[in-house]
């Protein structure tokens, strides 16, 4: 019987397999940041353990950094960032600190440097590590105990998850993006639908996505409950990778490509579960509730809780969100628009926003936060920042920003956002804040009208 892509990559990384034990899996790349690593470094120090392979480890400052220039004003946050710097210096880890041209959101910089490659195992103390699976590797989020484990051993004990294929047939209609697709998938299978699975996204609509779009899809696998999502590498992947600083070159490139071309699910491979989606039926999609599965097409209305799978949860969500059942989603007024995050903070996202904002004015507070300093530089080389500023939006430094509201970029209680990020949990963007997850295109059009809007409505 043939093997799935996930099975191939997993088997390639098994260091040790013993009856009655989880597999010991080798980790090719470990990304760390300031929030989930300090206690892991403390653990190493207490046990007198070194990092086994510091040269397979990379660090950046992203979750808890300000997106305005200048020093960190909050003393507790400053200590956290300084602690990462001290730990990286002591243990010999390459760090891209604030102000460095290589700094950025951890899941943006890995691909941007060419460190994220097909067939690799990649982990990070962050659940959106699934982003890197867009290149055809197994990438998943871990907790701090596992961060310490990987630092000490470059391995993780783990049971192989089951495999799920999400087959997306047809092509996405004009104006429908990778973000709309993944929001629709999550609404279909639910926030627990992917629990215990590695998801492989397949089909015509997936093949047609750019690498950036594929990253957006894989990024939100965790919102469907799956620790990892992946897409088989193809010409689009190779084109993206070739020439990047850490991508193989010369004869190494040829050898790598030969191997990467084997990284597809065999035709006779059997998935534990198959989900089918028809891309041609999709439209811009937004969330109305307090988990990412509570979403609907922008053209729909806020649902009656009785019509949902979990009426009690839906009623509670509507109360928190301050929404009445039956209200057209296009009538929902928004105070703040956030563009950024590891979901939608890449150059293509910013270009899409600029295309909508060019020659228009925003009526909401609008924060545009590039995913990395390189994205910022590239956007400025294209003049996108001038479009944003002329429209009245704020153009910031790179970081996670309002996606999780750890830094000063937060919503006030009761304030409502349209956000290109990945989570609409209660209080996620600030205590009492209300979040609608949207695509960059919908975010930009919403900033122009002050209500949830698609560019086609303008």
């Amino acid at each position: 019987m043939g093997r799935t892509l996930a099975e191939k990559v997993w088997e390639q990384h098994v260091v040790r397999r013993a009856e009655g034990e989880p597999d010991l899996l080798y980790i090719d790349l470990h990304l760390i940041h300031e929030v989930t690593s300090p206690q892991a470094f403390d653990g190493l120090r207490m046990a007198g353990r070194p990092i086994r392979r510091p040269e397979l480890t990379i660090a950046t400052e992203d979750h808890n950094v300000p997106t305005v220039r200048g020093p960190i004003s909050d003393p507790v946050s400053r200590v956290q960032v300084e602690t990462l710097r001290k730990n990286c210096a002591e243990f010999g880890v390459r760090l891209y600190p604030m102000g460095d041209a290589g700094q950025g959101v951890v899941h943006i910089i890995g691909p941007q440097f060419g460190l994220t490659q097909p067939g690799m195992t990649i982990v990070c103390g962050d659940s959106h590590t699934s982003t890197h699976g867009a290149f055809g590797g197994i990438a998943f989020g871990i907790g701090t105990s596992e961060v310490e484990h990987v630092l000490a051993t470059q391995t993780l004990p783990a049971y192989r998850p089951k495999t799920m294929a999400i087959e997306v047939s047809g092509t996405l209609p004009a104006g429908v993006t990778a973000k709309d697709l993944i929001l629709a998938i999550i609404a279909k299978i639910g926030t627990g639908g992917g629990q215990g699975y590695i998801v492989e996204y397949r089909g015509e609509a997936i093949r047609a996505l750019s690498m950036e779009g594929r990253m957006t899809v894989c990024n939100m696998s965790i919102e469907a409950g799956a620790r990892a999502g992946m897409i088989a590498p193809d010409e689009t992947t190779l084109e993206y990778l070739k020439g990047r600083p850490h991508a193989p070159a010369g004869a190494d490139w040829d050898a790598a490509v030969e191997y990467w071309k084997t990284l597809t699910s065999d035709e006779d491979a059997v998935f534990d579960t198959v989900v089918e989606i028809d891309a041609t039926t999709l439209t811009p999609f937004v969330t109305w509730g307090t988990n990412p599965g509570q979403g609907a097409p922008l053209g729909a209305s806020v649902p009656d809780p009785q019509d949902t799978d979990d009426p009690a949860a839906a009623a509670r969500a509507l109360e928190y969100m301050g929404l009445a059942a039956g209200t057209p989603l296009r009538d929902v007024r928004v105070d703040t628009v956030f563009v950024g995050s590891c979901t939608n903070g890449r150059l293509e996202d910013l270009r899409a926003v600029a295309d909508v904002l060019r020659g228009r004015q925003v009526v909401t507070r609008t924060l545009i936060v590039p995913g990395s300093m390189l994205v910022k530089l590239q956007a400025e080389q294209e003049g996108l920042h001038e479009v944003f500023k002329a429209a009245g939006a704020e153009w910031r430094e790179a970081g996670c920003s309002m996606c999780l509201g750890m830094n000063p970029d937060t919503l006030a209680p009761g304030e409502r956002s349209a956000s290109t990020s990945n989570r609409n949990f209660e209080g996620r963007q600030g205590k009492g804040g209300r979040t609608h997850l949207v695509s960059p295109q919908v975010a930009a059009a919403t900033a122009v009208t002050g209500k949830l809007t698609a560019p086609a409505d303008l």
């Binding site: 909050d74 701090t144 051993t153 790598a256 750890m406």
Partner: protein, 195 residues
């Protein structure tokens, strides 16, 4: 971590599904670099509501959390586990858990117990009717017992053994360091390094 064999204590019913780790401990609490002091952040937004179940004095000192399905979804923050433990919980019972949260729990010795949704609801009703009800979670026998009830649960042998012995995962892996070296010697030369 502390070994876990069997635990008897009182239980708190948390009748909510999809309790994500942002609710268990909001991001504002993640700025600390220590591993202690997170109990104050546990459910900190919800605890501002006097009607929230943890504010009910009848459940003070309870050590078993009985939650709705999909507990611990979302962010990978292990701080959620630390907050639950430091508040006094030894066990969380739910019909389904977020994968990363469940994994983090077993690394720290907080026992995640999966029971069918109907059983979880029955247990919630039982502790609502009698908050002083003693619940026993027997990892050795893979069983939860309360009143006259006894319900089995599944957990893989390896994780159970590790929890019962209170073993450090890193120490276990380092016993096989030679295997790691052998694997490393066979890795493809084109694989990237960060330097």
């Amino acid at each position: 971590m502390d070994a876990f064999t069997t635990h008897t204590g009182r239980a708190v019913p948390l009748r909510r599904g999809n309790v994500d780790t942002d609710q268990i401990i909001p991001a504002v609490w993640l700025k600390q670099v220590s591993r202690t002091g997170f109990e104050k952040g546990l459910f900190s937004a919800w605890r501002e509501d006097p009607a929230f179940v943890l504010n009910n004095p009848a459940y003070e000192g309870a050590s078993i959390l009985v939650a709705g399905p999909d507990f611990g979804t979302g962010s990978s923050r292990e701080h959620a586990v630390w907050a639950l433990q430091q508040y006094g919980f030894r066990v969380v019972i739910a019909a389904r858990f977020g994968d990363i949260f469940r994994n983090n729990s077993t690394k720290m010795g907080l026992l995640p117990v999966v029971l069918p949704a109907a059983v979880v609801e029955a247990l919630q009703s039982a502790v609502e009717a009698d908050p002083s009800l003693e619940v026993t979670v027997d990892l050795e026998g893979r069983q939860v017992r309360w009143g006259g009830e006894a319900v089995g649960f599944e957990i893989d042998d390896y994780t159970r053994w590790r929890l019962m012995e209170g073993l450090d995962d890193i120490g276990l892996t380092l016993r096989n360091a030679d295997d790691v070296t052998v694997y490393e010697n066979g890795r493809q030369p084109w694989l990237p390094t960060t330097v």
